[in-house]
Symmetry: C2
Subunit: 256 residues, 2 copies
């Protein structure tokens, strides 16, 4: 198995980082070799795993500006089989620094090619935008998972995502496939959540996962302890939903 | 009264658009002339006011690429005294199109200077990033409001915001002042929310507003009806919190 999965949505706060960290953790617990790439200058995936790029020099910014290579920047995490390629706020400067580089969007894909042989899955956490970093995450991937928060404004953004997927596939990465929409932050008490789920299942019946991730405060608490949910609270409803979804994701991807 | 207020935070989904639309609506109801500038290609502020840039050509992208001027792109909304300068997904291309323009960050400020005379307040809704659009929103403003969701990852991003404010003030806009942190999406049932409020009040006692915006589903429903909360459900807890906060904001800003 060799896949590169980019978790992306330009809408902010829809659960991209939470999905990337949990997918990475559960794949690793199934004895797959996994690399989590924090492609966001906010570095939330890095801090959700209890570390920070300040601890040492090697981070994604160093890799993408040619100061180091991806293999040496990867570091182990508290989860066996899960490595992290950390990010730092420096990454925000990349768009400006690479503004005269015609191939800027291809750098991440090239750098990760060296790591591919060591990992079954590379999971990329994208920032909330459609700029250079977000596009390079899509170029480096063969699969895209799009978390969609169960709220109206997140629903609106789905068309924009599909547009950019089409454009990236036509111009930069013909192998890119949509691995599906994951409904997140579902609040069973609100009509709004149920309506968004219905809309998504109606418009994208083939591409919306069965598993829905509930709003569960334990998922929001875990990053403040620097632990993935599977270590922070393995039996909370949010953790179990991600475990269930990881199985559904693998069934869909690995059996085609 | 003449102020330009930018609502900004690179963390996604913290309530920037909700804050911009509600601040704009309540200031307009107090007989102030207000312009809401949708500086985000997602165009959530535009659709929250029941319109879309597809309806006609003039939007912020047209203005910033010199195809039209700001005054002609502004349009009235369903709220008297509240105009909108709409955005569209085209805006996402700006960063790439202006990559060789050394003054790109100054364009929004220059364009809005023509409108300033017509409005008491210009409210700018920023995208979740620290790229060209977000920086230009900060350059065009004299005041910054930073919504902070009552969750751990949002707390982490506050240092990055203060860094970029300092940088913008030093290099591009010496008049820029922090108008304060607004705590949003507060859920009284969770310890996490209470802890974030305590942390913010401890670290930024002078800069954190007294008013806290609760998580209230009516605020999330309003955009799906294309109405600001004050028209959709004027007495819901979320709407009243924004009304209260607008008064606190004015007291702090206008009386210095
Ligand atoms: N299912 C869930 N239940 C409860 N809280 C959640 C859940 N998923 C995410 N969160 C919390 O909601 C907030 C937004 O999630 P997250 O940061 O993962 O989104 P994101 O899309 O990565 O945001 P950004 O656009 O800033 O990168 C965070 O505080 C996170 O802890
Ligand atoms: N106080 C609130 N109570 C309930 N829902 C809210 C509240 N504030 C915002 N929301 C909802 O939460 C989601 C995120 O809010 P919003 O879109 O305003 O954040 P944002 O910071 O502008 O996001 P982005 O980073 O994508 O620009 C939206 O679906 C919005 O309707
Ligand atoms: Mg994230
Ligand atoms: Mg917004």
């Amino acid at each position: 198995i060799r896949h590169r999965v980019c978790i992306t949505n330009q809408k902010g706060g829809v659960g991209k980082t939470t999905t990337a960290v949990n997918l990475g953790s559960f794949l690793a617990r199934q004895n797959l070799a996994v690399l989590l790439v924090d492609n966001d200058p906010q570095s939330n995936a890095t801090s959700s795993l209890g570390t920070s790029a300040k601890d040492d020099a090697d981070d994604l910014y160093q890799v993408l500006t040619g100061r180091t290579d991806a293999v040496s920047a990867c570091r182990p995490t508290m989860i066996p089989n899960l490595d992290l390629l950390p990010s730092s706020p420096n990454l925000a400067a990349l768009e400006f620094e690479l503004r005269h580089d015609a191939d800027a969007e291809l750098r991440l894909a090239r750098e990760l090619a060296d790591c591919q042989a060591r990992y079954n899955y590379i999971v990329i956490d994208n920032p909330p935008s459609l700029g250079l970093l977000a596009i390079s995450g899509m170029v480096a991937a063969d699969l895209l998972v799009v978390p969609v928060q169960c709220e109206y404004l997140a629903l609106e953004g789905v068309a924009a995502i599909l547009d950019s997927v089409r454009r990236v596939r036509q111009s930069l990465n013909p192998d890119l496939a949509l691995a599906g929409f994951l409904l997140t932050l579902f609040d069973a008490r609100t009509r709004l959540s149920r309506e968004v789920v219905e809309e998504m299942r109606r418009h994208f019946p083939e591409d919306t996962y069965e598993t829905v991730i509930p709003r569960a405060v334990r998922l929001a608490e875990a990053p403040s302890h620097g632990l993935p949910a599977v270590l922070y609270d393995p039996v909370s409803s949010g953790t179990l939903a991600y475990q269930l979804w990881t199985a559904e994701f693998r069934a869909r991807i690995e059996r085609g």
